[in-house]
């Protein structure tokens, strides 16, 4: 922990290129220790919440066991499965369209300076604008139904994927392009050998940002629009001061985010093998 130790450790660290793949410092913890630490932090939070939550008015802050009971009730009466499926449809459709469009446009924009120049200003303007600001407009255009919500999720997902994909393609090593050219590679073949593989880490970063934004998108859209989904469940229960029931969809969303991120990391490890195993 002294500066002398961390200084000497820096010299043995891997090149910066690989650093995005490295989750821990040079002295790697074993997986079982890591899992123990992860679970104990969660347990500590739950315990503190339980103790403090029981000591104050349940309208202000419920506590984990009450939330778990509420979850069981909501499973039994069908409100949770219904809201969950409504949200998932919106989330799935919106993400699918957003990721597909973002990937496709990003790949082309990264390779073609014309497309990139055409997109630059409108894209930056839309990206910089808080996407929430667009929701009333989207509702005006698409109504209060699932279409509007899908469009919101799509918009939330689109930009991180598009911008990161574009950046990834633009950052392709020019020296490798020259190698490919010298071996008479055609442009289409270069996508497979060179452009796509080197963009993958950037695309994964885009997807990681997109997961968070997609979840925000679906919940916020459900606040604003029709009476459906997990977002609606949060609002209605909060309005009725049923704090324990309000926390159920929040926890579900949090679990969902953790699950999706873990899934993405697993996929990433499978694809990006070339500097993970050194």
């Amino acid at each position: 922990m002294t500066t002398a130790v961390s200084g000497s450790v820096d010299h043995t660290a891997q090149p910066a290129q690989a650093s995005r793949q490295r989750r821990s410092g040079p002295r790697t913890l074993s997986p079982s220790v890591k899992w123990m630490l992860r679970l104990s932090s969660v347990a500590a939070i739950l315990l503190a919440w339980e103790i403090y939550g029981r000591s104050i008015n349940p309208i202000l802050l419920s506590y984990p066991t009450a939330v778990a009971n509420a979850a069981a009730d909501m499973m039994a009466d069908g409100t949770l499965p219904q809201a969950l499926s409504e949200s998932l449809v919106v989330l799935g459709m919106g993400s699918l369209i957003g990721v597909s469009v973002g990937l496709t446009v990003g790949l082309f924009a990264g390779r073609s300076q014309i497309v990139a120049a055409l997109l630059e200003l409108p894209m930056n303007a839309l990206y910089a604008t808080p996407s929430v600001a667009l929701i009333p407009v989207i509702v005006l255009w698409f109504g209060f139904g699932p279409t509007a919500k899908t469009v919101v999720v799509m918009l939330f997902v689109l930009f991180p994927v598009l911008i990161n994909t574009m950046r990834g393609v633009q950052e392709v090593d020019a020296a490798l392009i020259e190698v490919a050219r010298s071996f008479c590679s055609r442009e289409r073949r270069m996508w497979r050998d060179l452009i796509f593989p080197s963009a993958v880490p950037y695309i994964v970063t885009g997807l990681r940002l997109a997961i968070g934004r997609a979840l925000i998108g679906v919940i916020v859209a459900e606040f604003f629009t029709a009476f459906a989904g997990l977002g609606n469940l949060i609002v209605t229960n909060a309005n009725q001061f049923r704090t324990d029931r309000m926390f159920v969809p929040i926890v579900v969303i949090a679990l969902f985010g953790v699950l999706l991120t873990a899934l993405l990391e697993w996929v990433e490890r499978r694809i990006v093998r070339w500097h993970g195993d050194g």
Partner: protein, 259 residues
């Protein structure tokens, strides 16, 4: 030399990049099976010349001919070894060596890739990725990849300048031996190392610039097979080195004046 067939002819080639004249009317010829070295100080245009020969750069005037056919784009009959290896980090050693054959839609019916992996001492690491290799190993992969397409002309752009001194000598010897066994390839090696050039070359051209021009051309009379030792103890060596050194120094001066 005059009766041998001229494999490569570079005739009055000028190259201009971003408004700067990099090469001015460079002419040279390489015979079949001949190995020439081009030496010059940095910024003198030698890397540009090798890229122009490889069809990677547009030529302003003049022509590059391989067997009397103009080279305007990269062609499969020419392959190149790069200074910074240029390996694909996401491909294994074997996939990197196979790369040229794959993109050119060719197969490997005679087990050429296996043989090259063997010759270049890479057989035991064929499933590894480039980041797991030392610099010398990486360049062995680069050389094997260039040889796998069985080029008629091999271009080497400062292939040993990114590795340490000991590895450099080992690699030089390997390429030298490879060359002395070779039956049809011609070669052009770019370097700034006089000793490397004398060791490897049948003929040395000194390029000085900018703009790059051929300022000296010397045949190397030392018989093959050669080794670092046999070359350095050869009676012609001191005088050759002296001539090349003064030519390089003169080139260095013009580079300084232009800068």
């Amino acid at each position: 030399m005059s009766e041998a067939h001229q494999k490569l002819v570079v005739d009055g080639v000028s190259v201009r990049l971003g408004g700067n004249e990099i090469l001015r009317e460079v002419s040279l010829a390489v015979a079949e099976r001949e190995f020439i070295c081009i030496i010059g100080t940095s910024g003198g245009g030698k890397t540009t010349l090798v890229r122009a020969i490889g069809g990677l750069l547009p030529i302003e005037t003049g022509t590059v001919l391989l067997d009397d056919t103009p080279v305007v784009d990269p062609i499969p009959r020419i392959s190149m070894v790069f200074q910074h290896f240029g390996l694909f980090p996401w491909k294994t050693v074997r996939a990197n060596v196979e790369y040229g054959l794959t993109v050119q839609g060719r197969t490997d019916p005679d087990g050429r890739v296996d043989r090259l992996l063997e010759i270049m001492h890479l057989a035991h690491v064929d499933k590894k990725y480039p980041h797991q290799l030392s610099g010398g190993m990486k360049q062995r992969v680069g050389i094997a990849r260039a040889l796998a397409v069985e080029p008629e002309l091999l271009l080497l752009d400062e292939p040993f300048s990114a590795v340490d001194a000991i590895t450099r000598e080992l690699l030089q010897n390997e390429v030298l031996q490879l060359w002395e066994r070779n039956e049809r390839m011609s070669g052009v090696l770019i370097t700034h190392d006089i000793d490397e050039a004398i060791l490897m070359a049948d003929r040395i051209l000194v390029i000085s610039g900018p703009p790059g021009e051929v300022s000296l051309e010397v045949p190397i009379p030392i018989e093959r097979p050669r080794s670092a030792h046999s070359v350095r103890s050869h009676p012609a060596y001191p005088e050759l080195r002296e001539r090349l050194w003064s030519a390089l120094q003169a080139g260095g001066k013009t580079a300084l004046e232009a800068a």
